[in-house]
């Protein structure tokens, strides 16, 4: 009886919409994740840039906003929720001293001292992590994104030692049991693999902005750093911004507007 009703619903939907029944599995069981499977047409609308970058209006990034962006990112990418030293993080927050240790900011204004700065992989222009990776699992795309090919990662953790920003996490254990909010459209990782923010390469490919940028309601500006007319260049032209640990020489593509 149940399957009859399901068949009927499928048929009704097919005739109503005039499309193949293949994609109508959702009529029976609603997916945990509301997003639909991207099609080849979506991938034709990919966003392109010469060099992707991010500018952060740090004053707008309240701890609540930080948490919201972190949740959006971690849900999208199936980042496991593990407390303690084995934590996996793509997007997190820290105070001024931790974020900008080379600024030596003694006698900071109270407001800056207590501000929580959002941290993520800086997608550096000359990334140390790429230089030290022995398998080229970490590589840099022509548009500046420092990507990881999880298939190739052998878990040697050189990149973690090489990254001056602690932007990478290692899966000490199978991450799957720790995934709280699950997105079936994105793979998980396995034990023994390093991971980090990928500037949402999979979303740029279907013409969408990074999910943290979407969640941040304007506090994060994403765009092409080599295009003078872009929003990000406008934001950087009009506001004073610093980058993390400039003396590490990696030239981050993430800018913090104070």
């Amino acid at each position: 009886m149940k399957s009859n009703r399901r068949e009927f619903l499928k048929l009704a939907a097919v005739s109503a919409m005039g499309i193949g029944a293949a994609r109508l599995g959702f009529l029976g069981d609603a997916p945990a994740f509301a997003e639909s499977v991207p099609t080849a047409a979506n991938f034709e609308e990919g966003l392109k840039a010469k060099h992707w970058g991010m500018a952060i209006f740090t004053a707008k990034m309240t701890p609540e906003m930080n948490a919201k962006c972190r949740k959006a990112c971690h849900t999208e990418h199936n980042v496991p929720d593990i407390a303690g030293p084995k934590e996996i993080k793509w997007f997190w927050g820290a105070n001024f001293e931790e974020s900008f240790p080379t600024e030596h900011g003694h006698y900071l204004s109270e407001e800056i001292e207590h501000r929580q700065f959002p941290l993520l992989c800086n997608q550096c222009e000359t990334p140390m992590c790429v230089k030290v990776c022995p398998t080229q699992a970490t590589f840099q795309r022509p548009d500046g994104i420092v990507m990881m090919d999880f298939h190739r990662c052998i878990g040697c953790r050189y990149c973690m030692a090489g990254c001056p920003y602690g932007a990478r996490s290692f899966n000490f254990q199978d991450p799957r049991p720790f995934i709280k909010s699950f997105n079936p459209l994105f793979p998980t990782r396995m034990r023994g693999v390093v991971e980090k923010c990928n500037f949402c390469a999979e979303r740029l490919a279907i013409g969408k902005l990074p999910v943290c940028v979407e969640a941040a309601e304007g506090a994060l500006v994403f765009g092409d750093l080599s295009d003078e007319q872009s929003d990000i260049r406008k934001a950087l032209r009009e506001h004073f911004a610093i980058r993390r640990k400039p003396d590490a020489g990696t030239s981050p593509s993430v800018y913090y507007i104070l």
Partner: protein, 138 residues
């Protein structure tokens, strides 16, 4: 030849041993029938090609998609597909046990794709961790 009376039977014995599996299986037809999707006629490539080299295709897809950012596959008929194991292949072949596993179990290979990739695009929760041996032993 010195010791021919030992060496020649030895060689014959060795060859017999080496070819025993071949002889044993002679006449047996090797057949596996994975369950095909009922509502789809076309795969990204013809069936025979998929049988022979889906592993090469998947390997090419992963390199092109991840490393070159080239995520659309166009087949000989000009049809376009997204290069994705879960979102494209598993959208049609929704039951891994009745499709992938039937062959893989028969021929005794355990690809570790599923250590990371999801079984279908409308799966509700991550697949639980597999035992070491079942996951390809690593």
């Amino acid at each position: 030849m010195y010791n021919a009376k030992y060496i020649i039977p030895g060689i014959i014995f060795f060859l017999a041993l080496a070819f025993a599996p071949v002889v044993y299986n002679m006449g047996h037809k090797f057949e596996v029938t994975p369950e095909l999707p009922k509502d789809q006629k076309d795969c990204v490539l013809p069936t025979q090609e998929m049988r022979d080299k889906h592993m090469q295709l998947l390997n090419e897809w992963r390199n092109e998609a991840v490393r070159d950012g080239n995520r659309i596959f166009v087949n000989a008929k000009g049809q376009k597909y997204v290069k994705s194991l879960t979102n494209t292949c598993m959208s049609c072949h929704t039951d891994k046990a009745k499709f992938c596993d039937r062959c893989h179990d028969t021929v005794g290979v355990a690809p570790y794709c599923w250590d990371c990739h999801n079984l279908t695009p409308d799966q509700k929760s991550p697949i639980p961790p597999v035992a070491q041996a079942a996951s390809g032993g690593h």
